[in-house]
Structures are given as C-alpha cells and as structure tokens.
Symmetry: C2
Subunit: 597 residues, 2 copies
C-alpha cells in the first residue's frame, strides 16, 4: 500500500487550476485546459509527473462524485419540458455519430466492443460548455438555447443508458442466452431498486429527518455520500459500472426530497469537491495516457474519427431536426452548438481504456477529438447564429415576455402602470396590504415570500423576460434577483440599490455581477422619498425627447448637472413600447423618457 502522495497531487492540482483558469479566460471550459496540461506535463511530453496510487484513487473518487453531481443538476421537470425539437436534435445528434463511429472502428479492424465505445464517445454532448457560450453569444433568450439545453440533457441521458446496457456485457465476454437474461434481470432489478429508493424511500427519509429537526448540513452531506457510494457499489455488483450508480443517486437527490436549502448547499459542495478538486485530477491524468504517436501511426483513423465526430454530429442533428419545422439552418446552428464533447466522453473513454476495450491509441484519438470539438463550438456557433441573424431567422423564445416586479409599493405600481400598457406585468410582495392595493388597481399580485422558489413559481417566473426588484432592502433585491437568474433563467434583471446601507459600496456591487443584474434608474438611488412622493401624489410626470443616441448614464449626469432632481422611470421607443430606465442601456435618438419630479 502506497501512502498519500502529496507532492504529485499538488503539482497536478496546480496545473489543472492554472490551465483551467487560463482557458476559461478565453471562453472555453476548464476541462479543455486540464486535458491539454495533462498531455503536456505527462509522460508523452515533459514527463514531469507520473501516475501514483494517490492520483488514481483521488481521480476515480472524483469521477464518481462528478457523475453524482451531473445527475443532481439534471432536473426531471426540465427533461419533461424538453421540447419536441430538443428531443429530435438529441436523438439525431447521438444516433448518427454513434452508428458512424461504430462502423469506422470496426472497418479499421477494431472489435465490436471498441466500436460501441467509440460510438458512444462520439455521440455524447457536453453539458458543461453550454450556458457560458450562450451568455457570451447573447443567445440565452433564443429558441436555439432551449433546444441546445434540452438536447444536451437528453443526449447525455441516452448515452448513459446505452453505456449501462453495454458495460454489463464487458466482463461477461461471449455470452449465451441464459447469461444474457441473467444479466438483463440483474440490471432491471438494479434500476427497479434505485427507482424505488429514489421515488419512495428517499422522500420518506427526508421527511423523517425534517420532522426530527435534523438540520446539520454535514450530516446530510455524509448521508448523500453514502447514497452515492452505496448505489455506485451496487451498480458494480450487478455488473454495471459504478458511475451509473452514482449518476442515478444524483438524479434522485432533488428538491422536495430534502429541505430546499440543504439540497442546494450540498449540491454546491459536491460541485466544489468534484469540479474544484477531484475531477480535475482525473482529467489531467487522462492526459497522461495520451500518446502523441497517433499522429504518425494512426493518422488515418484519427482523421476518420474526427470526421465522424464533426460531420456525424452536425449532419445527424440537421437531418433529425427537419421534422421540427424550424428549418435546416437552425438545425445547423443546433448541431454546431451540440458538437462539444466533455466530461462524460472522457469518463467513458477512460473506462474503455482501463478495461482494455480500447487501445491507448484510440483513447488518445478520443481525447484529441474532445479537445477539437470543444474548441470548435464557439467558432462554429458564432458563424451559424450570425448567419441566422443576418437572414433574420434567429427566433426568440416567444414564451418569455413581460415583467415581474418585486415590491408593490406606490412607486413600483406607477412603473408597472407604464409598463403594462405594452407588456404583461405581475407584482410580488410579502405584504398583504400592498398586494391588495395592486389588485385593486387591476394588477395580478402574488402574495408571498420572494426568497422562496415557490413564490416565483406561482408567479410563473419562467415565462417572463424581465425581473425588477424594487424594494427598499438591497439584500432582498440582490438575493431575489439571483434566484430569478439561477432558477428561472430570467434574462433581464434590474434592481434598485439604495446607497444608504453600509453594504452598498462593498458587497452590493460585487453581488450585482453574481446576480448578473444591472441597477434600475441608472444609479444608486434611495427610493424611499420617491415612494412617499408617489403615495402623497406630490409628484409630476415629465416627458422629454432625446435628440441623439446617449447612454442612460450620460443622460442622468446631464440632468443632475442641470440641477434637475428627476427619477427617470421608463423609456418609450419609436413603436411606443415602454421599457424600464436602467443602467447600461442606450437611449436612441427620438426616444422619449418619462421621469417623475
């Protein structure tokens, strides 16, 4: 037994962290940097680090935790809501490269099993790359974004199911019918048992613990680790691979099972431990197994697999996407967006290498394939979406429109009155009286605690485009905006920040970026006097026309230099649509501004 090898662990983690940070700065997922740095510091190039028991054990534990985390992040509800188009894209984007990959490998003399492994590897889609690129390319509110997210989710689930079926036959070798039915029976029992556990037992356990007021986060963390390791071991026992058990465990660790806050906290701990510590060790050491010789010895196979990965994925998506009626050009954009491979592919390739199903050469090819396909996503997706934009075919997700306004105070109601002329407006407030006021004015108002997901769900937050937080409490504004962003993916978040708390300068602005919100009314403003003015009806509305394009910030500066004490409320564009006045916006020439004085 070897002891804990801290030096190599330190070097590998440091390399992973540095390379991950660098690659993230240019917009790529950390895993790309980790694989590359692994190739560089590993035996194939510099030979700085060798594998050791510590690295193997930490990285294998990391893969288990990572798969559990991936499972935790998949929401059944999201899968259920996945559109018809997303399903088509996922199936086409998986099946076509899977088939081509299998055919290519067997044509090159590989075993059936190797063919199936490579097929899965070229078929999967990386989840990790998605959201960041969508934000960078400003695509979050387009239909493509929805199709991509649903597609990647389904594609990974599909790949893991096929892998489950496959992996149980790896160790069995050549099998007869009795053995096949025995293996099949065991697998069915496994899935039946885990489903029972997840759907029946875990919620009961969660309730029992909640009733006994067990609220120690660490207790839950250990419990969830036990569930993950336990199901992982169970999967191994029935002949499946451990990662499937971990993935299943993650799937069932959901809100509703345990207390919401605890589930969120623990999911983040799983993220920190897997993505921030153990899984990078896996990806760097995966790079250790890459041999650069393939560029000479197996160049032809390398090029064929790359071709299968690129063309199979993109064409497969385009073809299967046609019945959706969204056009082949949008299918092309979806295909290029789904072309990235990531964690799941490397994990599956690593298992193939470890079990001796694929050779080191094929493993190396699959790693290069992951690197190149991931590199291609932003480039190709920019091309294809720009093309769609030019042709005016970039369809916005129609379902997102309207404003949710948090706070039903008089100022908020005034803003809501303006916005409701051209848009849907819903209010949310914890104060019953204020909510009733809003209802009396003909608005929909949800009465409830804004920091609870349930309240925003009740307000159908996921259908809205804009979230406005207009309470006097900076914390509540920030936290609710974060919730709107993280859980309901509301693309626009505008919040009021009062200057009067000590938090304003330091924490507040920092938090603004994590909530990816911008400030309403252009800069920090104490809304209390304005609320009072509106309440007492001692205000005047002023409409000004803007002559030339100017930023909202400059406009505010200009006004204050004229000693006008104005609160700009909304901007009216040339079609008469009103939008809230906010920081980081531009006022076009001939647009009007309504302010109160």
């Amino acid at each position: 037994m070897e002891g804990f090898d801290i030096l190599n662990l330190f070097i590998v983690l440091l390399s992973a962290w540095g390379a991950g940070a660098l690659i993230k700065r240019i917009g790529y997922p950390a895993i790309l940097g980790e694989l590359l740095v692994g190739v560089i510091i590993g035996p194939s190039l510099l030979g700085l680090v060798e594998s050791s028991s510590t690295l193997v054990i930490i990285s294998e534990a990391g893969v288990i935790l990572l798969m559990a985390y991936i499972g935790m992040e998949i929401n059944f509800k999201d899968l259920g809501k996945a559109s018809w188009a997303g399903l088509l894209a996922a199936i086409g984007g998986f099946i076509v490269p899977f088939g081509l990959g299998y055919y290519a490998v067997t044509q090159f003399g590989g075993t059936h099993m190797a063919g199936l492994f490579v097929g899965i590897a070229v078929g999967v889609t990386s989840l990790a790359t998605k959201s960041r690129i969508l934000v960078d390319l400003n695509l979050l509110d387009t239909r493509i974004a929805y199709v991509l997210m649903a597609g990647a989710l389904i594609s990974d689930t599909l790949a893991l199911i096929i892998f489950a079926g496959l992996s149980s036959f790896i160790d069995a070798g050549s099998v007869d019918m009795t053995e096949i039915s025995l293996i099949g029976g065991k697998i069915i029992l496994f899935f039946a048992f885990t489903t029972f556990l997840g759907i029946y037992f875990l919620p009961k356990l969660g309730k029992w613990m909640a009733n006994r007021k067990i609220d120690n986060r660490t207790t839950y963390f250990t419990l969830l680790l036990l569930i993950v390791f336990g199901l992982s071991e169970l999967a191994e026992l029935v002949g499946l691979h451990g990662i499937l058990g971990a993935f299943m465990a993650g799937l069932f660790i959901k809100e509703g099972v345990f207390h919401e806050k605890i589930t969120k906290d623990i999911t983040r701990v799983f993220h920190d431990v897997s993505v921030g510590f153990m899984a990078p060790i896996f990806f760097v050491t995966a790079g250790f197994h890459v041999t650069l010789d393939v560029f000479q010895t197996d160049l032809e196979l390398l090029l064929v697999i790359l071709g299968v990965a690129f063309i199979g994925k993109i064409l497969g998506t385009v073809l299967f996407y046609l019945p959706s009626g969204n056009g082949w050009r949008e299918g092309l954009a979806v295909g290029t967006g789904m072309n990235g491979r990531g964690a799941v592919e490397i994990v599956i390739a690593g298992i193939g290498l470890q079990k001796g199903i694929i050779s080191q050469e094929i493993f190396s090819i699959l790693v290069f394939m992951a690197i190149l396909t991931t590199l291609s996503v932003p480039v190709l997706l920019t091309w294809t979406t720009n093309w769609l934009k030019k042709r005016n075919e970039l369809v916005k997700q129609f379902s997102r429109k309207g404003h949710i306004i948090l706070g039903a105070n008089p100022l908020a109601l005034l803003l809501g009155k303006h916005l409701s002329e051209t848009n849907k407006v819903v209010f949310v407030d914890a104060n019953k009286g204020l909510c009733e006021n809003a209802s009396n004015l003909g608005f929909e108002c949800i009465h409830g605690n804004i920091l609870e997901e349930a309240t925003l769900s009740e307000a159908s937050a996921k259908d809205f485009k804009t979230f406005i937080a207009l309470t006097r409490n900076n914390e509540i504004n920030l936290l609710s905006s974060q919730l709107a962003n993280d859980v309901f993916f509301i693309p626009e978040k505008f919040i009021v920040i009062s200057p009067n708390t000590s938090n304003g300068e330091k924490g507040g602005i920092n938090l603004l970026s994590t909530a990816s919100a911008s400030t309403l009314f252009s800069s920090k403003v104490d809304i209390q006097p304005w609320i009072q003015k509106v309440q007492d009806s001692t205000f005047k509305e002023i409409e000004t026309i803007n002559n030339k394009k100017i930023s909202t910030r400059e406009w505010v500066k200009l006004q204050s230099s004229k000693h006008n004490n104005l609160l700009p409320l909304v901007i009216i564009d040339n079609t008469g649509t009103k939008r809230p006045f906010r920081y980081n916006d531009y006022i076009e020439a001939n647009e009007k501004i309504i302010s109160i004085e």
Copy 2:
C-alpha cells in the same frame, strides 16, 4: 497501484456515520463513535474490513484537510483576547501531563522519543467537545466557558508547536550540533516563509482577486486547497510533518484575506469534506490499529497512562489556575472540562505509530485514553459545576449584559425604554431616519446593515447578553439572530416572527432552531399594527400582577381566552429588573407583566 476500493470506503463511511450519529445523540462528539466502531469492525474484533490504499490515502488526505480546518477555526483575535486565567489553565493542563507522560513511558523502558510523543498526546485538549457540552450544561455565559475555550485553543497551539520542534528530529535520529542548527534553521525559514505568505502575500492576492471581480466560489476552494497542500508539502520538505503546514495554511485563511462570504462558505466546505467525509475514515481506520491484547500484556502501563492523563491534566490545571485567584474549585471544573482528548491527539498518535516511534500497544493505549477521557468530560464537568452552583460560586461572565435591539421602530423604542431602566440598550437599524429618532430619545443607535458582521461589531455585540430582532422581515430577523449566535455567541436571542409570510410556517420555525432563538411576545405576531399604534400614541400600557408560576405561553392563552387583545412587552421581577416577554419563559408568582393594548 491499487484502484479505488469503493466497497470498503462505503462500509467504513457508513459505520462512521452510524456510530457518530448514535454517540452524538447521547451528547458525545462523533470522533468517539468513530474510534469505537473502528475497533469493533477492524481486525482486533470482528475483522469485517481491512485497510486498503483507498482508505489510507483518503484518510491521510482527510487529516491534512482536518488540520487546515482546525487552523481556519482558530482566530488570532480570540487567542489575543484569551484571559490570563485561560492561559494559566492551558499551560498547567499541558505541561504537567506532558512531563508525567514522558516520565512514565521512559520508566517503562520506552525511548525518549516515545516518551515525548505520549507526553504530547496526554497534554493536548480536545476542542471538539467543548461548545456542545457547554450548551447542554447551560454554561455558555459563565466564566468557566471562557476559560475553557481559550484554554483548549492555547493548549492545542502549544502542543502543535512542540510537535513541530519534535517531528523535525524524528527522521534525523542521533544528531550533532551542526545538524541541529541546520534543522533549526530550516524550521525558522519555514515559519518565516509561511508567516510572510500569510500576512503579506495572501491579503495582496485576495485584494487582487477581489479587484478582478473573481467571485467563483470553486476557484477559491481550489486555490485554498493548493495553499494547504503546498504548505503541507513544504513542511515535509524541511523535515516537519505535513499536518503542520496544513495547520499554518488554515491559520492564515481568515476573514480580511478573502471576501467574508467566500471565506465562510469555503470554511464550511472544508468542514464538510474533512469532518463529513475524509477524517472519519481516518478515525475509524485508527481503530483498526488498536489491539485489545494490551488489557492483558500491558495493563500496568495502560493504567499508568490513564492515571497520568486524568490526574496530570486535572491537577495540573488546578495548580496553575491558583494564581488567577478564581479559586481551586473553579480550577477543578476547568480541569475536568479540559480533560477530553480528540482529533489532534489521535492524529499525533497515528503519526507516531506510522513512523515507528510508538508501538502498536502504546498506540492502542492512547486510543483508549482518548475514549475514556472524552467520556469523562460531561460526567465530571456536571459534578464540578453543580458543586460550584450549590456553593454559589459559579461566576457568570460579567462582561455580557444588556440588550441589542435590531430595528428602531416605535414599538422597539418602547420596549427599549422599559429595558433601559435596568440594563444597557443599543439599537441597530439600516434606516437613518429611525436611527436618528432613537438617538433623539437618548439611545445609542448604530446605523448600518445588520447582516454585515461589521455592524454588529460596531455595536460591540460580543459584550451583550441578549439580542432582540424586532423588524417586520422574518428573514432578516432570523439571519441576524444566526449571526448573533454564530459569530458573537450572544447567549439569548429573541426574535419576532410575523405570521403573514408564506415562510412563517415552514422554513421559519425550522430556522429558529438553527439560530437557537426563541420568539418574542410568546408567539407569532404581526407587529405592524402595534408599531402603528405606538407611533400614533393610541395605545395604553397595562400592568398586571401574576399570582402563581405560569409559562408565558399559558399566560398568552389565558389572555386571548378573555378576548383581551394585548401585546405583552416585558416582565418585571421582584427586584424591579425588566426582561422581554418571550416564548419558553416562566412568569414567577408576584412578577408583573407590562402589556400594551
């Protein structure tokens, strides 16, 4: 190289979790259950599990992370504030058993090195047991509690410094003066370097990252892991043990270095990963190395070491505590409270065993010693403190008195007026106007965001006995009360819970227990109408005298059955002292209640 051994890991973690949970239910720290279950399932008894590379590597990594976590939890400020009495108790409680332990082992034919190791092991004091027992025995606001907390802190730091000096000579064997000065020089360089890193470089790095708006928690987590592993490896390189580097790293990862919220989050992740996952593996496998044969082969040495541990620790504390002037009986209570051994002792004993300095027999004795001393703490501390209570010598920490009231609304000011007759009262409010009102009435009012530690610091929260949260926002009341509890250890927390938010029923009450607060005014109450009444001066104060002892809850029931719509404010005891009316309190006969109508 062995792969990841998930089955044994699962069994060990499950045993640790189960045993830890059981032992915690009867009031002992989890480590006790983990050691015991290790002895039971390990080779010495049932032989269910054997050690494996996975267990060794995870547990050694766990010890590194645990030491870093222990370092993170030590606050330089607390060490600085440690009283003269605490310092005396720590020194006496360490030096006497250390000397006796060394003498005993060498008398029994052990080496000098073994004697020094056993000396340290009997000298340390467990931090882990402290706070829970102090809460259970209702001692949190006594002087003993302060002495114990400071004492344990100093004792552990002392033990680790001596261990540092010692461990550098372990590998050197017999040494001449040149070698000693070489080793000494390396150690000094190590401490100089880590201190430079901690005091100069880390804060710079923290600032640089904050300026670049790096706010991804996982990035910080990986960075801190790198610092911990890096210093740990550096310590090994200069001949010290890795745990010292990890401990030093933990010491320097403090608020002020990184953003407060990030530091807190990451400290909790280190806690979850070490205490909730990896360290239990270490403690259970420590049990594997215990041999029960010592009860036959080395019974005499076992009894001697147990005697040294108990008598040395308690008598040493009593003797050195005399100059404090707090009396030998209080010294005895402190000594029995410091008698527990825990994580640090087992870690040091484990290193001694691994390096071959102590035999498996002595290791086993040290494990039993840890178990028995830890078991003794609640029993002996109950005896000694009850004795002090009977003699009326249980001194309360005089520095804690007065009320901090969050919210300076009219109702809060009215409550404050009553309480200020016999107690210090300070208000905190984020609203400038309300705060000025309070100042005009002659109160001190801190204007600031209550959810920031700085605000409570400014209000000198650590000197207060009672925290009252009287805002209309349940979340703010709960979160601030949690802050008052977790950071400023304010013993009494009373908060208002309004019934009108959806959170009231579900989350609110759950959170009450994590904030260990109770509700003000006895039950849920919407304070808004009462605030209005006080503001409009349309209220009447009513004083009622209570005939027989009755709980506040019953009193409220009684009043509501009489259809009196009263808000009970304060209770006046027979000495004329007023205390807030709250849930979970009793009204003695002849005490008066002031309510408003």
